[in-house]
């Protein structure tokens, strides 16, 4: 393999010793910030970026492969790793993403990105914005990436024709007419692509900074609340700042949340092509919680019905419909009288409600919830009636008389009318304060813009027109070209240009020997 390389009497050819000497002198003369910058040199290399990205990938994968606390039961992890459990735990293997070494990697990555961006942004900006012209000689020493033609056009006609062709192809064209006899042209397109990587890097930095803001100012909370309940977020069941309370800089909202209602809606038969089959529980279509935001004076600031994927936002705090849970209360009508039964005991491991009705009688209710019991299609409860002698109407070796009701159904048990209204179900709300959200979304936009910019290539074409002899209509056209990507597409485009120039403008390729300044290696 060979390629042509330019040799020139530049500092590239100086002996190493001289270079080192000059570097040492330069370092001694450098200001303090420059010296710090030199010390940080190791942080700004692409090689380090490659190493860090690879290490982050390996570490992240370790978190997927190793059982992580929260995803896998701790007892199971202990059993699997036996005596090594403590060691591995101390090394953060079961909490990879919050381990000191993973965070250290992230911090290193951050600095690599930060310092690297500072280093490379300026050269990229110059490459994207600078206009340069090349003379015929400069083109001649451009190595293999050049074309040369004899043209039968005057320099003005030639310039006009070339400009027109290049502009039609989407190039920005600039001309240098400082020497009217040897006009020069610089055409370029896709300049913005040079800034793509840096844009993406800046986006990542903003994302990391935003997440730090979220850590110091944000919180998360969870609350199981039943309809009619009002709660203070700061006193929610699982209120937790994103960082230890002593370092936390955020605040909690002064308003409270009131749950007006909570409903679960199921897919009805025929609503979808997948009708619920007999014996298969109905599928929940959506959970709806009707919430009000109440200010300290009791005034309703906002009221919305939230569902999964449709949260309620109040400033930088958002309430999400996350889960639900039966509270153990059952709403019933016994003998036409509304009652609330509370599960207060257990029978064979199942929660049971035992409620005195007076006259020595008691109502026993076994609730069954469709989300917990795959064998039922609707929430049900089975009722038994007891008196001082035992189950009312019970016969030896036979199941005592009972009444199985779905929610909304009525029936009679030993002469007692019972209606099972519904079980009480609490909505599980996830609450989050995220002051970083707007910045996070902005960082996403910047990252996406940057990565999309990277798809494109920067194409640059330099042209120099050289008059031949004394005839005005005889000029040589020298072309040098460069693309940072998409070389084949660029070559195809150049081919189209050349075909056009040869067929329409009568260009004739120029045969040349290699200039003396070039050497083949």
């Amino acid at each position: 393999m060979s390629s042509t390389l330019r040799t020139s009497p530049t500092s590239d050819n100086l002996p190493n010793l001289s270079v080192q000497q000059s570097d040492t002198n330069a370092l001694q003369k450098k200001s303090f910030p420059d010296q710090v910058w030199e010390l940080l040199a190791c942080f700004r290399s692409v090689q380090l970026a490659i190493v860090l990205i690879s290490l982050l990938a390996i570490a992240t994968m370790a978190g997927v492969m190793l059982p992580q606390d929260g995803l896998v039961d701790t007892a199971q992890i202990k059993t699997t790793f036996g005596t090594n459990y403590r060691l591995y735990k101390a090394m953060g293997f079961f909490n990879v993403y919050s381990s000191y070494w993973f965070i250290a990697l992230e911090v290193l990555f951050f600095f690599n990105l930060l310092i690297g961006s500072f280093k490379w942004l300026k050269p990229a900006w110059i490459a994207a914005t600078q206009t340069t012209f090349k003379t015929q000689k400069q083109i001649q020493v451009s190595g293999p990436r050049q074309l040369a033609f004899n043209t039968p056009l005057s320099s003005q006609s030639l310039l006009s024709s070339l400009t027109s062709t290049l502009k039609k192809a989407g190039y920005g064209v600039k001309t240098d007419l400082s020497n009217p006899n040897t006009p020069k042209l610089y055409a370029t397109k896709g300049n913005f692509s040079r800034l793509g990587p840096h844009t993406a890097h800046i986006g990542i930095l903003l994302m990391l900074i935003s997440s730090v803001v979220g850590v110091f100012f944000g919180f998360k909370a969870q609350e199981l609340a039943v309809p009619g309940q009002t709660f203070d977020i700061a006193k929610a069941q699982m209120f937790k700042p994103n960082i230890d309370q002593q370092y936390w800089l955020g605040s909690t909202p002064k308003w409270k949340v009131h749950v007006n209602d909570f409903n679960m809606v199921y897919y009805a038969p025929g609503e979808t092509s997948m009708n619920p089959q007999p014996g298969v529980p109905a599928t929940v279509k959506q959970y709806y919680a009707d919430l009000s935001i109440i200010d300290p004076k009791g005034k309703t600031l906002k009221r919305e019905t939230i569902s999964v994927n449709h949260p309620l936002s109040m400033g930088d705090t958002t309430l999400y419909q996350a889960s639900f849970s039966p509270t153990g209360k059952l709403f019933v009508e016994v003998g036409g009288k509304r009652m609330t039964l509370q599960t207060n005991t257990q029978f064979m491991g199942r929660p049971v409600s035992l409620t005195e009705l007076g006259n020595g009688k008691a109502l026993l209710a076994f609730p069954f919830f469709m989300q917990q019991d795959p064998n039922i299609e609707r929430n049900q409860a089975v009722f038994f009636l007891r008196d001082t002698k035992g189950f009312v109407g019970a016969k030896a070796h036979k199941m005592p008389p009972n009444l199985r009701l779905e929610e909304g159904q009525s029936g009679t048990l030993s002469g007692l009318s019972i209606r099972y209204v519904k079980p009480e179900i609490a909505t599980g709300l996830q609450i989050k304060k995220g002051p970083e959200v707007p910045w996070m979304y902005l960082s996403y936009l910047i990252i996406i813009s940057g990565t999309i910019m990277c798809i494109f290539s920067q194409r640059r074409i330099w042209m120099a027109i050289v008059p031949q002899g004394n005839t005005e209509n005889s000029n040589q056209l020298w072309i040098s070209y460069l693309s940072n990507k998409a070389h084949i597409s660029f070559a195809k485009e150049l081919r189209q240009f050349e075909i056009q120039w040869r067929n329409q403008n009568g260009f004739v390729p120029l045969e040349q020997s290699l200039p003396e300044e070039t050497a083949t290696v």
Binding site: Y97, P144, S273, T283, H487
Partner: protein
Amino acid sequence: MMTPADWEQNFYYTGLSLQGIGLLFYCIHALKPQTWAREGGWGSTLLAMLCLGLSLYFRSIHAQYFALSNMYESLMVVCIGIQLAFVFLERWFKLRMLGLPVAALLVGTLFYDINLPTEIHPLQPALQSYWRSIHVPIILLSYALFTIAFLSSVVFLLKDAVSNIGGSSPKLAADGPSNSYSDKPYYAQSSVEAIESSLALDKANIYDEITYRCVAFGFPLLTLGIILGGIWANEAWGNYWSWDPKESMSLVTLLGYGVYLHLRVNGAHRHRTLAWVSVIGFALMLVTYFGVNLMGVGLHSYGKIG
């Protein structure tokens, strides 16, 4: 009267058959290069893509939502993505060797796909969002591009094994269309023939270029898909990122291809090395797409196989 379910099935099998015919054409082309065979393979792949698209359309009508909620449907979308990327690349770059592996992979994948559970289930609340119709197809399209990148890398490595073309680095290639492979100074010719000859020389290396193009397009798509997934998660649960196995592995895949792109920019590495990194990236993508689903845990467990 044919129902949407019948149309769905008919179009799927027609698509599979057409892809099989495409494979046949490419086999003939591999044995004896003929333009008609290559064109036949390309046309069959194009028609197969249209049939699979129609199959997905009728499935969506049947399901009453955009049918992209299980492995069967997502694999079908990946196949459509591969076909779409391939028919475009084949037309643009006149690829001679990529048709056979692409067609073979598609036929195998479509056969595998039909054996996956195809029942349609009602959408659970978390999946009832317009984000599902944006986040998932974008991710799957990136997977399709990475698959083409992988096949292209394999072809490149095979060609490299035969003719040792992978020893140079892209930094040299960046100087011009073909100078890193040419023994003849491009300068000295200065004509259409020179550019034609440079293209001919690049054909030895075109599969490296295809790999790069696919990764260069797939990477922003995967980035976009992950970010949109994060926004969706924040809308649904109040968490951009939960270190769920699927999320973590998709980050690993992104980082893997990030390494590829940085190595490419760095330019000090050989084409052969880059091809191997692309192969590793594809392996990571497979773990993300299939492997994590086998675990059946985390927020993406609805994507599990079976």
